[in-house]
Symmetry: C2
Subunit: 251 residues, 2 copies
DNA sequence: CGCTGCCTTGATCTTCTTCAAAACGTGTGG
DNA sequence: CCACACGTTTTGAAGAAGATCAAGGCAGCG
């Protein structure tokens, strides 16, 4: 049993709160669906965006708030979640720089169905919905790219539904770890380290289970040599076997 | 206890299998995101579509098939589902005339992640993906409308995730019934009748539970006067109370 | 150094699944 | 029109998975 319980996380304590103009352009350029644009177009679009820094845990918008803006993560991690009466929040997605969120509604009168919250210190760009809506018309390729991403997200959500409907807690957690590893993992001495503060409770909220069950499952995984983990961090040490647990095989 | 167990379903035994040219234009015009187009544009778009009829239970495409076309339901009901090793299929959505499904991928090389199946006899229009992709460029409003719908579907999927994560089987089934009632319900003598053949097993696959549990819950609902139901049909008789069960209230 | 918040572990209890079998409805063919 | 046969639905009882309740332990921080 690895007796290295100290966190290997090296959270770049970004000055955040504010991101440089330089960073803004770089980020916007890195957004998948803006990548095809010329620098001039990018700069034009950039002028429509405004920025804002958030502290860890700070709420960007709340369920029920009027949905008036379209957001892009510039730095840090932003999580999307839904609340439940019993305080059992459900963590739907963890966004990294370049990903968007917020309102895409045609009928601009809607409310946000989710809550967006800074998971780490974060810098977020946003644009007025009416301004955003002109972009696909002016740059059709951008509209298609956004459609593509929405399609991917819908598929991911459907897959999550399948997991929640049909699989055991162990399997769901294995699946969540794999997805996080693919998205946020960096090869480190401890293994494929998921580069984000990740509590047992966070995992439970993603896998639709309780903190205790998440803890038990992680302990088991650790015993089996699939992962290494400690307070607020998880690293995958045997991706193959973990995938074997998460995937459908024989009947 | 109402002793009316005969099915009140009056399935228009559509000649289906083939839908008239007249119907095609009418359907395309009814598709939310084509509704803004002129008749000429509609007819132009119509020429890119081809049609095909399906028998109940017939598969339109399978998980893993190359995703090359974009589909629109013209008549009947089409369901989207995912398979699981143990044969435990998950029913993701039930589509009605005017709704689309299939590939929206930019990278046209993808595979379908879901299976699409005719739930009733159905007529389906489809268009080559490359043809489809030109539409948002030529009609920006259409692109935005599609985006809007994708957004709605993503939200619905997220809400389903929340339900599956945090609620009891009873609550999930109440929620599913409400959604079906809103989408497919017609006021009838028996109540708000869900106009589609709907087995206990279908409901179980939507709510992420087993046939037996679905049956028990429906029996209870019936005893409580919330619904009326029989073989392959359900009608909601007390929407208020059912909603009370499905919704979050006090902590 | 002690506090706070996260993590672990155990015991109990509820919910739901699983297995099994009987009852019912629907459509079919006599 | 009736009776049969099939698939759906219902119901029961036993079992498992996971939630809940309750302590105790450990890491990091002021």
């Amino acid at each position: 049993m690895s007796e290295r319980r100290k966190t290997p996380l090296d959270l770049e304590t970004i000055p955040a709160q504010q991101c440089s103009v330089q960073l803004r352009l770089e980020i916007l350029g890195r957004v998948p669906f803006f990548s095809g644009l010329t620098r001039e177009n990018l700069e034009a679009i950039n002028r429509s965006f405004r920025e804002r820094g958030y502290l860890p845990g700070e709420t960007i918008y709340f369920t029920g708030d009027p949905a008036a803006r379209f957001y892009v993560v510039a730095d840090g991690r932003v999580k999307l979640l839904r609340h439940t009466a019993g305080g059992k929040d459900v963590l739907l997605d963890m966004l990294t720089p370049g990903e968007f969120f917020g309102s895409l509604e045609l009928s601009g009168e809607g409310e946000h169905a989710e809550t967006a919250q800074a998971h780490t210190a974060a810098c977020v760009l946003s644009i007025e919905q009416s301004d955003f809506r002109q972009i696909p018309g002016r740059f059709p390729a951008v509209g298609l790219a956004i459609l593509d991403i929405m399609n991917q997200r819908l598929k991911a959500a459907h897959e999550l539904v399948r997991q929640l409907s049909a699989h055991s807690a162990e399997r769901r957690i294995a699946y969540i770890l794999l997805r996080l590893g693919d998205k946020l993992g960096k090869p480190r001495k401890v293994g494929l380290l998921i580069e984000v503060p990740l509590s047992r409770d966070d995992l439970a909220q993603m896998a639709g289970t309780t903190t205790e069950t998440a803890s038990r499952v992680l302990s088991q995984f650790q015993k089996d040599g699939l992962i290494d983990s400690g307070r607020q961090w998880v690293a995958i040490t045997n991706r193959e076997q973990l995938a074997g647990l998460a995937l459908d095989e024989l009947s």
